[in-house]
């Protein structure tokens, strides 16, 4: 009897072993819910010695702060709330002072004019609560005239170090600048920094221009112009504003061009005898190849980042919908199946999403979907939203929003792909058809 009890006890004790083993070691908890809110950061004026350098330092810190806060992912702690000053770039940072104002990230830097026109900007990014630097310090050297670009580059590094993805601040946008009433609107091509600064006009307003599109390297722009009385495609060199018309067949209209990632091939729409199909052209040789041959309207082609596929708009099913086909033509697969009309698809630079315009229920939306058409999300809704274009990092979308009425104007807006941070991009007047270029080299 006693032996039985002993055996039973031994068995039960052995059974309890795993529980005992689990109890040893650290306490384990799983965190599955957090918060999504802008990260508080501080960017005190960069350290400078002379008066001119101090002015420049202040300008730099303001542009950096505008870039970061403008993403909606960061929130600046106002400078008047700082309880500590950075007087030396090399001295250790008093992290406790920055923790006290709840700054989670801190950007410190210094500006020094070097020679007649050059300036040197050094900076560091600090993780305040960890009490350590985020990566190594960096230095940018540039001309004083190009100070905004240096500020954008600093902000890009900060953004990249904290979020883990590339920034988009040192980039430019080409668009159609508009002026005058709706029925007599003057349009010309313009280029600006992503934040609206450094605006420059690329064409005059004597002819209607449409749909400018950056090349992958940002050095050239394709656009459609009515200079000859009917739509023709032009290619414009951004640096010297030189331009030339692309060859096309007589009696045809060509429009909606877009560069392939290789920068040599252009996909576009060609309308002939009432039918519109997609073509591609070698921009140097001028030979065109037909990609679609359907009685329906095929337009708005956009290449995938690897250049192997094209997403486009077609009404072959009765209403405009989105399709994907191989870059050399071939069988197309429909990807949009929701209610409404889909158009102007644009492939994300990351390759995972397609942005589009959707007309449904009397309203226009900018939306995104996966490349197989799943997970469609509408980000905006208004009287007229159209023509999305991706930020170089695929995180933000710009588009045109036109207000209602005879006095209605077009403006450029931007929105995060989460649907947050919808805001207007500052332009001097009306603006439409934005095309977001790559990060500058």
């Amino acid at each position: 009897m006693m032996r039985t009890m002993i055996s039973l006890l031994a068995v039960l004790t052995l059974w309890a072993l795993p529980a005992l083993a689990q109890d040893s070691g650290p306490l384990r908890i799983e965190i599955t819910e957090g918060v999504i809110e802008p990260m508080p950061y501080a960017v005190p004026d960069f350290v400078a010695e002379s008066g001119a350098e101090r002015d420049m330092a202040r300008n730099l810190s303001r542009v950096i702060a505008a870039d970061l806060s403008g993403t909606g992912l960061f929130r600046e702690i106002p400078q008047d709330a700082h309880i500590s000053r950075i007087t030396s770039f090399q001295s250790p940072v008093q992290y406790a002072d920055w923790r006290a104002v709840n700054a989670q990230a801190l950007i410190t830097g210094t500006v020094r004019f070097d020679g007649s026109d050059r300036m040197v900007v050094q900076f560091r990014i600090h993780d305040v609560f960890a009490g350590q630097e985020l990566g190594d310090g960096l230095q940018f050297v540039g001309t004083r005239d190009g100070w905004r670009r240096i500020a954008h580059k600093v902000a890009d590094v900060v953004y990249s170090r904290i979020t883990g993805e590339d920034g988009y601040f040192d980039s430019r946008v080409v668009f159609v600048a508009e002026s005058g009433p709706k029925d007599d609107r003057a349009k010309r091509l313009a280029i600006m920094d992503y934040d609206g600064a450094n605006l420059r006009y690329l064409t005059d307003s004597s002819n209607i221009v449409l749909a400018p599109r950056f090349s992958a390297t940002g050095d050239r722009v394709l656009y459609t112009s009515y200079e000859m009385g009917f739509p023709r495609i032009y290619v414009l060199d951004v640096a010297n504003v030189g331009r030339r018309v692309l060859p096309t067949l007589d009696g045809t209209m060509s429009f909606a061009p877009r560069f392939a990632p290789d920068g040599r091939t252009v996909a576009y729409s060609l309308s002939q005898g009432g039918n519109t199909d997609l073509y591609r052209m070698n921009i140097d040789g001028g030979q065109s190849t037909r990609l679609t041959s359907a009685p329906s309207i095929e337009t708005a082609p956009s290449y995938s980042p690897d250049g192997r596929r094209i997403v486009f708009e077609s009404d072959r099913s009765g209403t405009p919908q989105l399709y994907i086909m191989p870059a050399g033509g071939g069988e197309a697969t429909r990807i949009s199946f929701g209610q409404g009309r889909y158009g102007t698809p644009v492939w994300s630079p990351r390759g995972d999403l397609i942005a589009f315009t959707k007309q449904s229920g009397g309203r226009f939306h900018i939306g995104v979907m996966r490349t197989d058409g799943s997970e469609e999300r509408l980000l905006t809704a208004s009287f007229l939203d159209e023509g999305p274009t991706w930020a170089p990092n695929g995180r933000v979308i710009m588009f045109t929003r036109e207000s209602r009425g005879a006095q209605g104007q077009s403006r450029i807006y931007s929105v995060d792909i989460s649907g947050r941070n919808l805001k207007q991009v500052e332009t001097p007047g009306g603006a439409s058809d934005p095309s977001w270029g790559p990060l500058q080299q």
């Binding site: 005992l20 040893s24 908890i29 989670q104």
Partner: protein, 376 residues
Amino acid sequence: MDTGQIISGTGHLALIGWALFGGSFQSAPEPFEVIQATTVSESEFAAIMDRAETPEAVANVDTPEPPAEGQTAPQVTPEAETAPEAAPPRVEESTPPEGVEGAPPSMQVPSEDMAVMVPEVSPRPQPRPAPRVAPEAAPEPEPDTRVDDVTQPEVTPDEGAETAEEPSEATAPEEAAREIVTEAEETDAPAQAAPPASVRPRTRPDRPDPPQEAPTATAEAPSEPEPEPAPEPEPEPEPPQPASDRAAIDDALAAALGEAQQGTERPSGPPLTGGERDALRVAVQRCWNVGSLSSEALRTTVEVAVSMTREGRPDIGSIRLVGSSGGSDAAAKQAYEAARRAIIRCGTDGFDLPVEKYDQWREIEMTFNPESMRIR
């Protein structure tokens, strides 16, 4: 045949006999109802129906005849169906108050643009897109309200009060929404009185882990679901040896427990309760901000280990990444940094952990799983 079988057989026979003849299997007859009926001829039935359709004047009947058996009750139209004549409402011509002259103002027809701005029906309040997304939604706090976890009104000392109250400023949680509301979603909901669909109720939270007590064999034995193993068959029963049995039990326990305790030092003291673990989890997730993480980092789960001081503060130098899954090394680094910030920020004042159980939480491993925080 032994005596036992005889007794058993007799007993069973007696029982069967009693069951058969004792009336146990005979049921009493069910009582039945007797209804008396009379035959009615065709002419009598027609006469009855006739009377039913055209009742005689009620005034001539003092006491109604009891109906013959089987007679159908006459249909009687309730008098209440006749609507009483409604008294005309008194209408008094209102006279304009003194000082008001002229015709009533006419409403101007709004222009097209204005008409658009006037909603036809009062829209129901829509969920506001708050800049902060948190597990629990919170309204926008009143101005001059300090952001805090708890909501409390402002307390000002009352001079006339008998007991002086500690003055404190009003606090409220920071405004937050439960999810990102895009412009399309914000205005998509039609303005109507009833919501088109109700919010899906949240799934019940997982049952908290059972307290990790060191189970003893006697405590756990009754709940052991598995069949108890049969004791080993002993071919040769041995005589009981009381003195050596106690030693054998001790040996068996020592052998079993000794293995478990070998190598690692088991935390002493009682384990943390589910509530205490939840409180720690909530305290950390309040500071876990994933808003500035890349899409890839939002697909990366990281395990972060931290040593704690007795005051409940994390030892910053001890925070380390012990594992990650779902993303590249770079993404894991970003996710780890966000997790580290959460631990440090919310641990600055010390987590609310029971000091008597310090051994249980001296070392903590937190798994940060952002699956539910991704952009949907």
